[in-house]
C-alpha cells in the first residue's frame, strides 16, 4: 500500500517535471517576421524587436527582408502565402494589401487580440478604419504611415505675396503669376507623376477625391463617378495647356519630381514623405530652407484629400504561434513604437497624437505641418486584385496625360475593366 503510494507520488513528480519541461520549451517562441525592403527600415525594426525581446525573454525574433518595391514584395508574399507557408509568422504589408490578403484567407483576424475594430482603430489616423478593417475584422495593425504631400517654394510664395492656394484653380493662378514674374522658361508651376508608376494611381485619385467622390465603397465595389473622374483628369490637362505642368508629364517619375524640385525648377510639387529630407538634407539641393508643406488643394466646392501610403503589421493565418505573434504586432503598433520610428527614421506616425509629441517635433519639425495633410488622407482602392486595379488606373492615367487617350475614353476604360474586378 505504502509502496504503491510512493510509486504514485514519484509518477506524479515525474509528470510535473515533464510538464514543467514542456512549459519551458514552449516559453522559447521563435517568431519570424517579414520586414519589407530597405525603404521600410528593417534596421530600425530590429531595434524595436530587440526591445521587445529584452522585455519578453521567452521570445526570439528573426527578420526576413526582401523586395525593393511594394510590387516586388506583393509578388513574393503572394507566392509564399498561396503555398500556405507557416515559416513566417508576421508580415509587414503595404497599405494597399490588407484587403487582398485578408480576402484570400491569408491573415489572422486580430479582433480577439485588439478588440472590436471601431475601438481598436480609434487612436490611429482615420484612414486605417478604412484600409485595415476588412469585413468587420481587423486585418492588420498600422506600423508607420506615408502620404502624398504638396511641397512648395515658401520663398517664391512670399516674394509674390501669395497665400497657400486652397483650390487647384488658385494653385494654377499662383503658378502662372510666379512663372511670369520669374521669367525662367524652365520653371514649372506644378510637378506631378504621370509615368505609369504606382504614383500615377494617386495622380488619378487626387483631383477625383477632392470633389468629395469615392472610388469604391466599404465592400470594395467600384463606385467610380465618371463625370467627376473626367473632370479631374481635365483639371490636369488644363494645367498642361496653360504651361503650369510640363508637356511631357507622362514621362515624369517620382525621382524626377524630387530632382527637379531640388534643382529649383518647380514651384509646387506633389510627392511622398521621403522627399522632405531630400529637399532639406541633400548636398545638391538648392532649395534648403525654402520648402513648405501644405494640404493638397481641392476642386472648387470640394475638400482636400491625399493618398495615404505606409506599412502595416499582420499575423499570418498559417502561423503556429498566432497569440505570441499578435502580441508582438500590438507592441509594434503602440504610440511608443510609432514615436521611436518617427524620431529615429523620420517615418510618419500612425497616431495623430504622436505628430505633436515634443520629442518628435524637435527631431522632425515639419511633422507638425504634416499631420493636417495625413488626417485628410484616404486609402487607395481596396481590392483583392489590387495589382490589376493599380495597373489599369496608372496605365490609363498616363496615356490620358500623354494625350493618346481622351479623358472620356480613358475613364470609360477604367470603368469597364475594373467593374469586372471590383464587384
Amino acid at each position: 500500500m505504502q509502496r504503491r503510494n510512493l510509486m504514485k507520488a514519484l509518477a506524479l513528480a515525474a509528470g510535473m517535471a515533464a510538464a514543467a519541461g514542456t512549459t519551458a520549451a514552449f516559453a522559447q517562441t521563435a517568431l519570424r517576421v517579414f520586414s519589407g525592403g530597405a525603404n521600410q527600415r528593417p534596421d530600425l525594426m530590429r531595434k524595436l524587436f530587440d526591445q521587445y525581446q529584452a522585455a519578453n525573454p521567452g521570445v526570439k525574433i528573426e527578420i526576413e527582408t526582401g523586395g525593393a518595391t511594394s510590387e516586388l514584395q506583393r509578388q513574393y508574399l503572394s507566392t509564399v502565402l498561396n503555398a500556405k507557408d507557416s515559416a513566417i509568422d508576421i508580415y509587414m504589408i503595404d497599405i494597399v494589401n490588407p484587403a487582398q490578403y485578408f480576402g484570400a484567407g491569408w491573415l489572422e483576424p486580430l479582433n480577439a487580440y485588439v478588440g472590436n475594430p471601431a475601438d481598436a482603430m480609434k487612436p490611429y489616423l482615420p484612414v486605417y478604419l478604412q484600409s485595415n478593417v476588412v469585413d468587420g475584422k481587423v486585418a492588420a495593425m498600422p506600423g508607420f504611415a506615408d502620404a502624398m504631400f504638396m511641397y512648395y517654394r515658401k520663398d517664391l510664395l512670399d516674394k509674390y505675396k501669395i497665400a497657400e492656394p486652397k483650390t487647384w484653380d488658385e494653385l494654377a493662378a499662383a503658378s502662372k503669376k510666379i512663372q511670369a514674374g520669374e521669367g525662367n522658361p524652365n520653371l514649372q508651376g506644378l510637378s506631378i507623376q504621370g509615368a505609369p508608376i504606382e504614383g500615377a494611381v494617386c495622380t488619378f485619385l487626387l483631383p477625383y477625391w477632392s470633389q468629395g467622390k469615392e472610388f469604391n465603397d466599404a465592400s470594395g465595389k467600384l463606385t467610380l463617378d465618371k463625370a467627376a473622374a473626367v473632370k479631374g483628369l481635365n483639371q490636369w490637362l488644363a494645367m498642361v495647356d496653360s504651361g503650369v505642368i510640363k508637356r511631357n508629364v507622362a514621362e515624369v517619375k517620382t525621382p524626377d519630381t524630387v530632382n527637379e524640385f531640388k534643382a529649383g525648377q518647380v514651384v509646387f510639387a506633389i510627392n511622398w514623405g521621403f522627399a522632405w529630407d531630400r529637399f532639406q538634407v541633400d548636398n545638391d539641393s538648392t532649395v534648403k530652407g525654402k520648402v513648405g508643406v501644405m494640404p493638397l488643394p481641392a476642386m472648387a466646392g470640394g475638400k482636400s484629400a491625399t493618398c495615404v501610403g505606409g506599412w502595416q503589421w499582420a499575423v499570418s493565418a498559417f502561423s503556429k504561434n498566432k497569440a505570441e505573434a499578435a502580441k508582438l504586432v500590438k507592441f509594434m503598433s503602440t504610440p511608443a513604437a510609432s514615436k521611436f520610428l518617427a524620431v529615429e527614421g523620420s517615418l510618419l506616425p500612425v497616431y495623430q497624437s504622436v505628430y505633436t509629441d515634443p520629442d518628435v517635433v524637435k527631431a522632425v519639425p515639419w511633422f507638425k505641418d504634416a499631420s493636417n495633410v495625413v488626417i485628410a488622407g484616404k486609402s487607395r482602392p481596396l481590392s483583392k486584385d489590387y495589382g490589376q486595379v493599380s495597373d489599369v488606373v496608372r496605365t490609363t492615367t498616363s496615356a490620358v496625360l500623354a494625350r493618346t487617350k481622351k479623358p472620356d475614353d480613358g475613364v470609360g476604360e477604367i470603368q469597364s475593366r475594373l467593374a469586372r474586378v471590383m464587384r
Binding site: 480576402g103 498616363s398 496615356a399 500623354a402
Partner: protein, 300 residues
Amino acid sequence: MAGASLIERLRDPSETALGVLLLAPAFLLLALIVVYPIGTLIFNSFFDLRLSGGSGMKFVGLENYLLVLEDADFWNATWNTVLITLITVPGALVAGLGLALLANLPFRRQWPVRLALLLPWALPLAFAGLIFAWFFHTEYGVVNDVVRRLGFGSEPTMWLLRPGWAFAAICLTIVWKTSSFMALILLAGLQMIPRSLYEAAQVDGATRWQQFWQITIPMLMPSIIVALIFRTITALQTFDIPYTMTKGGPGNATETLAMLIHKTTIDYLDVGYGSTLAVFMFVLSLAVTTVYLRRIGRQA
C-alpha cells in the same frame, strides 16, 4: 538470376540498348527542363488559377481559350509582336549584312572592328533599353538635343509618349541591338566564301555589284537562313527593350505578347489565364519555326 542477366546486359549491351543508354541522360534533361514545364503550362491553361484570391484551382475547360480570342489586349499585343518581328528582322538583316561586309574589308587591324561588332551584342537587352530610353527622353535625351541643334522644330518631340514614334524608337533600338548578332553570323559566312570565286568573276569582267548578287548572296544564303531563324524566334519573344523603354506605353500601344503574359501572370497573379496566353505564343513560335525548318529541309 534476373539481376545477373541485367548486369550481364549492361556490361555487353546490344547496339540498340547502347543507343538508348547513351541518349537517356540527354532525354531526361530535356524532359525535365522542356517537356515538364510546357506540360505544366498547358495543364494550367485549362484552370481558373489566381494566386490573388486564394480560391484554389477550378477546372474551366476551354473557357480561357475562348476569352483569349475575344480579348482585345491579346490581339493588340499579338499585332505589335508581329509588327516588331516584321520590321526588326529584315532591318537587322540589312544592317547586319552591311556591318559584316564592312568588317570583312581588309583592315590592317581587325580587332577594333570585331570589338565594335561584339559590344552591342554583349550588352544586356535591358541595359540597351534603359540607355535608349534616355536617348529618346523629351528633355534630357540626346536625340532631341541633336534635333534642336540642327535647328529643327521649336517644340521638342515626345518620342516615347506618341504611339507611332514610341514604336519606331523601340524598333530602332532592337535593330541596333540585334544587327551585331546578325553581322557576327554573316561575317563567319563571308569568310568561308573562297577568294578564287571573286578572282574568276573579275577575270570574266563582272562588276562589284554583279559579284555581290551572283556570288556573295547565294554563297551566304545558309548563314542568312540560320541568322533569320534565331532572330525571328527572339523577335517573337520581344520583352526587355519595350519593357524598359515604355513599359508598353503610351497606354498599351507598344505592349508585346511576352509583356502581356508577364503582366497577367506576375502583376495580376492570374496564372491560369497567363498560361493560356503563353500557349498561344508557343503555338505562334512553333508555326514560324516549322515554316523555316521546312524551308531549310527543301534547301538541303
